[in-house]
Symmetry: C2
Subunit: 252 residues, 2 copies
């Protein structure tokens, strides 16, 4: 039997999704909870790795096992064995050929930032603090450059080994919320897949454009010729959350 | 010279506002930062104490001192000496007769909760998890009982020593936000002052009414006769945030 899990986690205290030496990871905690719950070891695969410190509102994973626990009851059983910063929101039986990574059609990430002269402790855990004012209209304009199919090799951390660096970004949506002391900005990016650090570098470049540090031509050159010189800095992990994975059918 | 500070803090790791033995408090951290910044000790007074674990988006404090630091520059100077979970958002010169406690005309607290069968790690720090469904219309109805001038002695933690337990609640606003897996609810309560634990007990009672555990008559009796039997449980501190203090004039 194949099972799918919808998982949310606060990535602050984890070395990302994937099991590794020298860091506690979400995959490790979930594997341990599965072993405690099922009584035997099983491998668990996610829609994609999230990096160290990145959060997930709705990561999707799969595993294969023979168990008498009803699929929809697995969530509560697993949560009993999980720490408070990881939670299984849904569990379900999945089609035999379902693969959380390979079957994913679209993913949506959100990068959150807040603009204020001062640090706001109640925002600081899941949102990056930007001290200087941002031209929101230019931020919206910058997002449009990335929509469509492009070779994002300039937006990929050096040393990544992937077959192709071509990805399709379906939309980049900038949602500001203005209040007297602070402007909160959410940048939602939906695509068919993302390279290592791609969303964080893309948002960093959007901020460079909004600040007048790179031009529209610079960004076009980065996409057409892979020119890294006009690419902004990679934004910190804590502002990034995996919001949704779309498989083209109702999984849960 | 009198100075006013607008302060935000994540109360998770503090034993509340007021200096005490056996716990690190926000007043203590702010006093230490003031001493480091000014070079001498000064007392600092807030609009009111917040309890252990309660947060503040905008607490107001005052202190008196002779200093050559311009009032509006004090915020950055203090933040340099404050931990990351406390931040001074604004600093200003205040009228000589200003007193953060006595001059306060209105305060607004927000109690946040989320309704879901499962724990959501990304909501859990500043919002209380409610597992059972809530009748939102009944929650709104419950809030109305508390509006107006009432004797809230049944909603005050036992053993409090205050001159009077009569307070005026100007408004109780329930703001739900519905999404597929979870309903977020914010309850904003504005009043001329609040007794110890009053907002948390008031929200607990609203939840009891929404669940049919107490009736409209029970709540009326609690307000008219101080009957504690129909009062709901005191909600956990982490869902509560002091949102605003109003002095009837522009302080910052």
């Amino acid at each position: 039997m194949k099972y799918a899990l919808l998982v949310s986690y606060d990535g602050t205290d984890y070395g990302g999704w994937q099991i590794q030496k020298n860091a506690v990871t979400v995959q490790q905690k979930l594997s341990e909870a599965l072993e405690k719950t099922l009584g035997f070891k099983v491998g668990v695969t996610a829609s994609g790795r999230t990096d160290s410190g990145v959060h997930a509102a709705a990561q999707v994973c799969h595993f294969s096992a023979q168990t008498s626990v009803p699929a929809e009851r697995l969530a509560d059983a697993l949560n009993f064995n999980l720490p408070s910063d990881i939670s299984v929101l849904k569990s379900a039986a999945a089609p035999d050929d379902f693969d959380a990574t390979a079957s994913a059609k679209k993913k949506t990430y959100c990068y959150r930032l807040y603009v204020s002269g001062k640090r706001h402790p109640l925002k600081d855990r899941y949102s990056e603090h930007i001290k200087h004012q941002i031209d929101i209209e230019k931020l919206v304009e910058a997002g449009k450059f990335f929509e469509g199919e492009h070779d994002f090799k300039a937006y990929c951390a050096a040393g990544s080994q992937v077959k192709t660096t071509v990805r399709t970004v379906y939309s980049v949506e900038v949602k500001p919320r203005f209040s007297p002391l602070v402007t909160d900005v959410e940048v939602f990016v939906t695509g068919n897949g993302f390279l290592y650090n791609m969303v964080r570098t893309l948002v960093g470049t959007m901020l460079y454009f909004a600040a007048g540090r790179v031009s529209a031509e610079d960004i076009k050159r980065s996409l057409e010729q892979g020119d890294r010189n006009s690419v902004g800095k990679t934004m910190p992990a804590k502002g990034l959350t995996l919001e949704a994975v779309d498989y083209g059918f109702k999984l849960f």
